[in-house]
């Protein structure tokens, strides 16, 4: 009888400890207890920050696979409608940086997901075209992003992901202007 009670209380205690871990947002759990890196890598690079960050947020390279960066870097004369040409040396330095830190070369959990593309699909040249991005944003109503004057487009990560420039996309850091925190 006594041992049954001990077993029962052990199950109860284990349940109290384990259930919240299993049910909690895994981002939060791994960020707190750290098993391996959860998000995308923060890889500071002054040249990249200067050259690309002059016009837009310098997107962490771990948000796209190498084959996507390769296409983007081969068409800077028409870079989503803007001219973003670089001199040969800078172009090479930035291409090398992006290729060696791309999503498919990263061990970070979120990068691994950005790296997994549909086999039959085209190679995305926008982060927002990747299957993982679409999956993560499929519950966001259009009105809070493209219909929101303070956000305008899914391209402006840092409009809502307030730590995007630090390569953190955790749910707790999301704040949608005019709407508040996002909880799914």
């Amino acid at each position: 009888m006594k041992s049954a009670l001990i077993v029962a209380s052990m199950i109860l205690v284990l349940g109290l400890v384990i259930v919240p871990i299993v049910w909690s947002d895994d981002d939060e759990y791994w960020a707190q207890y750290g098993r391996r890196s959860t998000d995308v890598a923060l890889v500071p690079n002054p040249v990249y920050k200067d050259e690309c960050g002059d016009c837009h947020m310098a997107y962490p390279p771990g948000l796209l696979p190498a084959k996507s960066w390769k296409i983007i870097m081969s068409g800077l004369e028409d870079h989503f409608g803007d001219n973003a040409e670089l001199d040969t040396m800078t172009h090479k330095a930035i291409t090398d940086f992006l290729m060696s830190n791309s999503a498919d070369k990263s061990n970070y959990r979120r990068s691994r997901r950005f790296a997994s593309l549909n086999d039959q699909g085209d190679i995305p040249i926008r982060i927002s075209q990747t299957p993982y991005f679409k999956h993560e944003h499929d519950e966001i109503p259009v009105r809070v992003v493209t219909g929101n004057k303070e956000v305008n487009s899914f391209s402006y990560c840092n409009a809502c992901h307030r730590k995007a420039e630090q390569a953190s996309f955790r749910e707790r850091d999301i704040f949608i202007p005019g709407y508040g925190q996002w909880d799914d």
Partner: protein, 88 residues
């Protein structure tokens, strides 16, 4: 003045001008027409960084002339633009 001249673009940006991003008030901040990122003032009187690096001048002339005019600026156009910005 080339700075405020409007040039015909394409369907994405039908009208293009230096002022599309930098505005006509060079002492004030501008805003990138597409990304909406704030651009520091062009006037050297309020932003001493402007016209301080030959590399930067070359880089931006090349990119921005091509976007705005669809071609590189001539040396004459560049000289005029530099003189105009310098006065601000």
């Amino acid at each position: 003045m080339l700075w405020s001249k409007t040039i015909e673009g394409d369907e994405r940006f039908p009208e293009r001008s230096c002022t599309s991003c930098h505005t006509n008030k060079l002492k004030q901040e501008g805003k990138h027409i597409k990304t909406k990122k704030v651009i520091d003032p062009m006037a050297p009187s309020v932003n001493p960084d402007r016209l301080s690096s030959i590399r930067e001048i070359r880089k931006w002339f090349k990119r921005n002339c091509k976007w705005t005019l669809g071609r590189e600026c001539t040396p004459y156009e560049k000289a005029n633009l530099l003189a105009y910005i310098k006065q601000q």
